[in-house]
């Protein structure tokens, strides 16, 4: 039986929360893009788990990188890798670490250094066009990542070259590390910035599947232009006790705390975490 998107997203979040054990993971950003990834892999991307390197596939490039637990979990739930492998997160004998790499089935390219994959995606999109292919390239960016000049350089070049098979999706969760973007280096007005760079830009609630349906229904949004989708999201979405708590962006938890959070995910009272938060500012 095929799961509904909310049910699949719930499973993805469970896996992500379990990955906070041991060495921890970037929980906040992984939970903010979980619905986005579930939507993309179930309704948008033309890619089959049995043929993850099919040249006719669509490409999903995770540029911000540190949200990869949500990608591992989504790929595992859909059969790209066994879900049993997820417990091997940070196991030195496996390759599931804090940032993506191509050795994991379904992962297209490594990331971690911010501001790289929009240009890599533009290169992939250019080759698809040269070959007359119908594949599309989707690049997920963090909003904090948009401080990087190379994002805007690639945005300028992609629009200049009319790459309408390229889609940038910004997981606009409002934070970079544990600092609010608008307090540090404001990104707003964000849509006009992308529009000014030549991208047809759509802004949606990144947790609302109806809005996701509409945003991705027709691509490119405008022929001859790349499409930008600004998805407003919430850090740690699904865990009310942690939503909007910027110090809980990277989380390393005890097994007991993990179980509390999973219970909270399923509607129990808010967890009371004692593990120390990570604060960069």
């Amino acid at each position: 039986m095929t799961l509904t998107r909310p049910d699949l997203a719930l499973r993805v979040r469970e896996h992500v929360i379990r990955m906070t054990r041991g060495g921890g993971c970037f929980l906040g950003a992984s939970l903010s893009c979980a619905d986005l990834l579930v939507h993309l892999y179930t309704r948008v991307l033309r890619i089959a788990p049995a043929a993850p390197r099919d040249p006719e596939r669509d490409y999903l490039l995770l540029s911000k990188g540190h949200d990869v637990p949500a990608l591992y979990a989504t790929l595992a739930e859909l059969g790209f890798l066994p879900t049993s492998r997820l417990v091997r997160h940070l196991d030195p004998d496996d390759v599931l670490y804090w940032h993506p790499n191509r050795e994991v089935p379904g992962v297209e390219f490594h990331a971690g250094s911010l501001g790289h994959l929009l240009s890599v995606g533009a290169g992939v999109a250019t080759d698809i066009r040269l070959r007359g292919g119908a594949s599309r390239v989707f690049v997920i960016l963090g909003d904090g990542e948009c401080d990087e000049g190379s994002v805007w350089e690639a945005a300028l070049v992609a629009a200049g070259r009319g790459l309408d098979n390229l889609v940038a999706i910004v997981d606009r969760n409002g934070y970079q590390a544990n600092v609010a973007t608008e307090e540090l280096i404001p990104l707003e007005p964000f849509v006009p910035k992308w529009e000014a760079f030549g991208w047809r830009t759509i802004r949606i609630n990144g947790h609302d599947f109806d809005q996701l349906d509409r945003a991705f229904a027709e691509l490119p949004a405008q022929r001859g232009k790349p499409t930008a989708i600004i998805a407003d999201t919430v850090r740690n979405k699904g865990l009310p006790s942690l939503e909007g708590k910027p110090e809980r962006w990277f989380v390393k938890l005890s097994p007991g705390e993990v179980e509390q959070l999973i219970a909270e995910l399923h509607g129990a009272a808010g967890a009371a975490l004692t593990s120390s938060p990570m604060v960069v500012r």
Partner: protein, 291 residues
């Protein structure tokens, strides 16, 4: 037979291999005629070196062989982390061609002087570094470099023939362009010609000098360097590059690792910034400046 031409060679190689794409960050001096020949396989991204490298990685992921062009200083430094991260970590078959490297920057000044490019590029695991002595050396090496799955950085040159090339088309080998057994002069790029000039002057003083065209500093043809150390009394490294991390470093690292005792005299650039000069000027013997 017409003189070898980098541009014509690329056109011919691209005609034979549809995987080849030629990419540039608005730097067309050496490839001006290629857009007409290659059509959409000529990709000019504008003045955007980082994006050029990221795109080259994306193109290579799809099975292309990108040959990218920018001025050496901006290619190797502005885009360094993109080269290291997108091409180096992934080990993608991208050929990086740096224009006006070393002394070739003419009157542009320190911003355009790529005199640390070899140190930077050799620091990337898996990256090859090729510094041909002249355009013939460059053109003859292209088939081997393009067939190689490793990424490669090339110091571009359009120089007229610097010497005879006994090992033309074998870029991984050091060429002995003139033999001798007192001293061995190791050089690359446009200074190979100068090394031959120095050899003639040394001969007038009764000193016999071997001249080696070390066109590929990485991976190094170690046997040829060790043979020179065994056969001669002094190795002289000559390079238009900072002394740190270039040919002198490369040769010394080999000698220490191989436990070979040898005297090595570096002729390289000191660690400072240099005022610009048109090409012939830095090659002249130093003169006392008026005080």
């Amino acid at each position: 037979m017409p003189a070898p031409s980098y541009e014509r060679a690329l056109a011919e190689l691209a005609a034979a291999d549809p995987a080849i794409v030629v990419v540039t960050a608005e730097n067309r001096a050496a490839i001006r005629g290629l857009p007409a020949v290659l059509g959409e396989r000529f990709i000019d991204v504008g003045v955007a070196e980082q994006t050029m490298i990221g795109m080259a990685a994306g193109l290579a992921l799809r099975g292309r062989k990108p040959i990218v062009h920018a001025l050496a200083a901006f290619l190797t430094m502005r885009a360094y982390e993109f080269i290291r991260t997108d091409i180096g970590i992934a080990g993608l078959p991208v050929v990086l061609v740096g224009g006006v490297p070393g002394f070739l920057s003419d009157a542009n000044g320190p911003t355009h002087q790529a005199i640390e490019d070899i140190a930077l590029m050799r620091g990337i695991p898996g990256m090859k570094v090729f510094c041909p002595a002249d355009e013939a050396d460059l053109v003859a090496a292209l088939p081997a470099l393009l067939a190689d799955p490793a990424p490669c950085y090339i110091r571009h040159t359009a120089a007229p023939p610097a010497c005879d090339h006994p090992l033309l088309g074998q870029p991984h080998r050091i060429e002995t362009v003139a033999d001798g057994d007192d001293v061995a002069i190791l050089s690359f790029g446009l200074l190979v010609r100068e090394a031959l000039d120095a050899r003639a002057r040394l001969a007038a003083e009764g000193i016999s000098a071997r001249v080696l065209n070390v066109r590929m500093p990485k991976p190094l043809d170690e046997a040829a360097v060790l043979a020179a150390a065994a056969d001669t009394r002094l190795l002289v490294t000559v390079e238009d590059h900072l002394q740190t991390g270039g040919l002198y470093s490369i040769v010394c690292e080999l000698l220490v690792r191989a436990r070979v005792r040898a005297d090595v005299l570096p002729i390289a650039l000191a660690e400072r910034w240099f005022k610009p000069m048109l090409l012939p000027d830095p090659l002249r013997p130093p003169v006392q400046s008026p005080s």
